[in-house]
Symmetry: C2
Subunit: 669 residues, 2 copies
């Protein structure tokens, strides 16, 4: 370690537990250089048990809700094989097939029964779009083996503003993914058990609460348990599709078509309606970008494995989506609020058999997992934005369980509000959805095109790259415009307001942090002078109620930090004040005691006034108010204490030069 010559021990440096004797300070070394066996000895090696029963009470509640703390090292992903990775990363994308066909049909049916046959060409167009996007992202996987989310890739190539556009777009879409997936999952349940339909909003909110707690507990996205609903859905749908096509061609089970009345046409069939149907169906592509974000989680060779898994995922999604679209075209299910298209098709093919319930359960399951994916991605993206100072610092904090608690809380709240306002209706939420995803797709693909053009040597690879990503950018860009145009009135306008508001916020937060940074900068000369200046002791005021143990401790502390200590008593009972004065004189405290009478029993006003007055009289030298603070023995006793301390702290918070120090007094029982 040759670079450490400037870090020789200085005299008087404190040691840190776990240091070798003689090592008087912690050496600065690259973390890779610390021997594995010592790596965490000055991290939280073991969580300490609180010494007081109050501390233990708080801890018990936290543990019940959140679980035992995890060591930082446990943040590392376990590496995933392709089979498991497909389950982890594809749930969001594949689950989209649960609503995409249905929402596409829902638009067409506005123009009457005949128009519904357009579901086939629309579905084929979306599948082609899926192929283009998948091949585009394959390029990203190879270019960003360290993980290439749209925000990172755009920041890297196109700079600040485009990256913030990608970031804001993704934020809105992660929120909508939760709201839409949960609503669609609830629809799968209420299709099978219709008497639950009136409770759909409650069910959806409960599901969000469940996922939130699971994520605050730091659920691992790589858990095997996630693979079960995903593969159950994939295999269930494939069996259903095979049975469906057999029934169609008369070699399988006899189909029993479900007959819902087709509502009368309320709209003519025109190019606008078909494009709107296409826009709604494009929600099938949400989640396709997930793998490009998570390349480092793959087993080696990461990029190659991730690229292969991406193509598998596109194949699975394309097959299920297109298969459902063909069956819907043939069996004519009619979209309605009581039963999903998948439920209708499954009933048509297999009736209300156990297999039907299996399909509904698997659909709800994969949608729950898909919503959970956003609970990993949204807080992570917020943490990137916070690292770049576009969001408040607290999005960077990880709790005991290494979860980004604030990001999880924001996502859960926003998705919860959406679900409640839109009454857990997928149909009502769809116009807001996909705008963000396709904006992010476009920014990401445009970034990749720019990257090939700028950073690669001329040649066949560069040209292929530009062609693939250029096509991706162009097609997703056009799709974004189509989505905005056709869904603007029915809801996309909300997103078109939220995204610029978010970007403005990002910029304002960044500007604030930059401004604070400038204000805090120290000029070296002043610093040198300051470092050798004589320290000045503060003026100390100790408000006391009566001569209790807690008051004595506060006075002791005050005497320890300054020789200029004034004790003040706000008297509401003159008799008590007289007794205090007598005791003060009897016990020979060598400190001034000021008694301020408050005939109307008011405490805070006279006290603040006295403190302000003293501060002025002492030429605005730093003034410290030392207050006893009670730490009760039990959690539920907290509301019984310290209101005065808290109120005084709040009242004095905006007074420059006044420091409020609370000296804890721990109650034993």
């Amino acid at each position: 370690m040759p670079t450490e010559s400037t870090e020789e021990p200085a005299p008087g440096h404190a040691t840190v537990r776990g240091q070798r004797p003689g090592d008087r300070y912690v050496r600065i070394v690259r973390s890779a250089d610390i021997p594995q066996s010592k790596r965490d000895y000055y991290l939280i090696a073991e969580p300490t048990v609180p010494e007081t029963s109050l501390g233990r009470g708080i801890l018990t509640i936290k543990r019940l809700l959140i679980g035992r703390p995890l060591q930082s090292a446990q943040a590392e992903h376990q590496r995933l094989g392709k089979i498991k990775a497909l389950a982890v990363f594809s749930s969001d994308a594949v689950s989209s097939s649960a609503y995409a066909t249905e929402e596409s049909l829902r638009i067409l049916v506005l123009a009457g029964a005949a128009a519904m046959s357009y579901v086939l060409p629309v579905g084929i167009a979306i599948t082609i779009l899926l192929a283009i996007v998948a091949f585009s992202y394959r390029q990203t996987v190879f270019a960003y083996p360290q993980g290439g989310g749209s925000y990172i890739v755009t920041k890297d190539n196109l700079g600040k503003m485009p990256s913030l556009l990608a970031g804001a777009s993704l934020m809105t879409d992660y929120i909508l993914t939760v709201a839409v997936s949960i609503s669609s999952g609830v629809a799968a349940v209420t299709s099978a058990v219709t008497r639950l339909y009136p409770f759909r909003v409650e069910l959806a909110v409960a599901a969000i609460a469940f996922i939130t707690i699971a994520n605050l507990r730091g659920i691992r996205e790589s858990g095997t348990i996630f693979a079960i609903p995903t593969y159950a859905f994939i295999f269930g749908m494939i069996i259903m599709l095979v049975l469906g096509f057999m029934a169609w061609f008369g070699v399988g089970p006899t189909p029993h078509p479900v007959h819902y009345p087709i509502p009368p046409a309320t709209s003519g069939l025109g190019i606008f309606l078909i494009l709107r149907s296409f826009s709604s169906g494009c929600t099938a592509l949400t989640g396709v970008e997930a793998i490009s974000d998570g390349v480092p989680a793959f087993k080696k060779p990461e990029a190659k494995n991730a690229a292969t898994t991406l193509i598998w995922m596109a194949l699975v999604l394309g097959t299920i989506f297109l298969g459902l679209t063909f069956l819907a075209h043939h069996f004519h299910p009619v979209p309605n609020n009581n039963e999903t298209i998948i439920s209708q098709l499954t009933r048509t093919i297999v009736g209300r058999t156990p297999f039907y319930y299996f399909i509904q359960a698997a659909t709800a399951g994969i949608l729950l997992i898909a919503a959970n994916t956003s609970f990993a991605d949204f807080p992570r993206m917020c943490s990137f934005l916070a690292r770049d100072k576009f969001l408040p610092h607290q999005f960077l904090f990880r709790g005991d369980r290494l979860a980004y608690s604030i990001g999880i809380g924001v996502l859960a709240t926003a998705a919860g509000i959406l679900v409640i306002v839109f009454k857990a209706s997928v149909n009502a939420l769809i116009p807001l959805y996909a705008v963000g995803v396709f904006t992010a797709f476009t920014m990401s693909q445009a970034s990749m095109t720019y990257r090939h053009w700028k950073k690669e040597p001329p040649g066949r690879n560069r040209n292929t790259g530009i062609m693939i990503n250029g096509t991706g950018a162009l097609v997703t860009g056009i799709t974004t415009i189509i989505i905005i145009a056709t869904k603007f009135i029915s809801g996309a306008w909300i997103v078109m307001i939220i995204i610029p508001v978010l970007i403005t916020q990002f910029l304002a937060i960044r500007k604030h942090y930059d401004r604070v940074h400038d204000q805090l900068a120290v000029d070296p000369d002043r610093l040198r002078q300051r470092a050798s200046s004589r320290p000045q002791e503060p003026v100390v005021v100790v408000p006391i109620d009566h001569l209790s143990q807690a008051a004595i401790r506060a006075i002791d502390y005050a005497r320890g930090i300054s020789t200029d200590v004034t004790v003040v008593h706000i008297a509401d009972e003159p008799e008590d004040a007289k007794a205090l004065r007598r005791a003060w004189n009897d016990y020979h405290f060598h400190l001034p005691l000021v008694i301020v009478e408050s005939p109307y029993r008011e405490l805070l006003g006279p006290l603040v006034n006295f403190i302000e007055q003293t501060h002025r009289e002492k030429d605005n030298r730093t003034l410290t108010v030392v207050l006893p603070e009670f730490v009760p023995a039990h959690l539920y006793e907290i509301p019984l204490h310290n209101q005065t301390a808290w109120r005084l702290r709040t009242a004095l918070w905006t007074h420059p030069g006044v420091v409020v120090t609370t000296v804890p007094y721990h109650l034993a029982r």
Copy 2:
């Protein structure tokens, strides 16, 4: 002032603004002895304007919601004449007539149309009860000219447990007064404007919110504005009753009876049903105790004026209640959810004329004022309980506008929950009501009987007193039992659970405060020894991020309070840590700098660990953590700062011997 010889000025005492020169401390004098002109000079004489724009921002919001602060002196009631006092104190009692007859009928109608004629004997019985209670309270008024609420009177005569029973009973009943009055007022509105019926819960919640804000702003209960709806109701009802009786005897307007279908009988007519009807009607008596509570607010001679006003009030209430009962007996209105009895009777007599709308508006108005009465009484009673340490201290705090904010908040929340849970239905709330009031009546009258017996000299006055209050106690006691028995299943059981729970809470809180008081007691010898001990400076730890202005200020402060200061930096970027070490050495800070490396970017864990370790190494001497705290220039910037300081404070709160001091750094922009 001969008793003040022990309060001679001691050397070094600080002065307080407004003191005469030479007076080195504030003299303890009885507040009555301070000359009027100087009375408030060391109270908040004028509210100071905060020096920072953040402080001004916080203030602006508070002022908008709550208004300008009031001086304590303004807490004094203006003295009331009898006319105004009747308006102020009778709204609660008189407004009860808006629902008492109706609720009495509602029970009788369960036994069919014929049973409804029993409303007359039931009404007469309740009026006799009213007379007994009014005469009983007349005694209380003379015995307690300083104000004799049930809690105070019972505490004074029967002791702790009975007074807590009275207190808990009154608390539940104040809450129910708000819920019932508001619900009944909303019913008056929706009877007149039926299309508002679906919004009754929203209207009720809005009304509670309105009263809450008005009371937080410190509305004066003595305002003339309160007299208007009360007298409007009283005169409106008297005119209506006169017209009604004229119509009855064929000398006035032709009545147009309203015909609602009478629901089929679901119950036989028995003594239990009649007693249940009586119990429901007894809600007419709620609020009768108000005057005995507020004697000091009357002009001199207070007791005599209050007693006269009490009899007037009973006459007004009795007349309106009995009049309505007679009319209801004659014109046969049928209780139902869509229209109140008063609305039906008024329509019968005068049709949908402007006078009808006037009556509905006046009814809603007086009920709003009645609810407002609880917003003055409930917080005041909580403050009595808090003064006796049966409730947390914060029920004693008065805000800038001299309102007991916590009590107001608790009442509003509890009443709001009741209104929402019971869907603003008077009918549903009634079984919970009156249990508390009659329990408090009984305790109060029993106390008065005891008082006559124990404290008065034998003679005619004593015997009359025992007879009147003894009758009152007996009759209200029997009524309490009837109310509990007949309404137990339909809702009184809820109150029967809440009251004991409240009493248990009161006792537990008192026990806790007593225990704390014992723990805090200082033994005089130790105190004497302590007073002359040598102060010990604390061990100080200053965590810094980088060498910013804020960090420098924190280090300066730390050097001012101790010579044992250690600066610590938790390094997540080894390069930054190296730069910090170099700067530290360059600038010759004569303080140890410890760098703790945290390879996984965790901050709080290593810091807490380091602090605990240092505390142990320094033999558990008091350790002070000095942290910079940012005070931003604008309110909305608060969430962008200080998370670490707050988190660290929370994490260290339960560590005995560790003091966290935050040194504010005021950002200029």
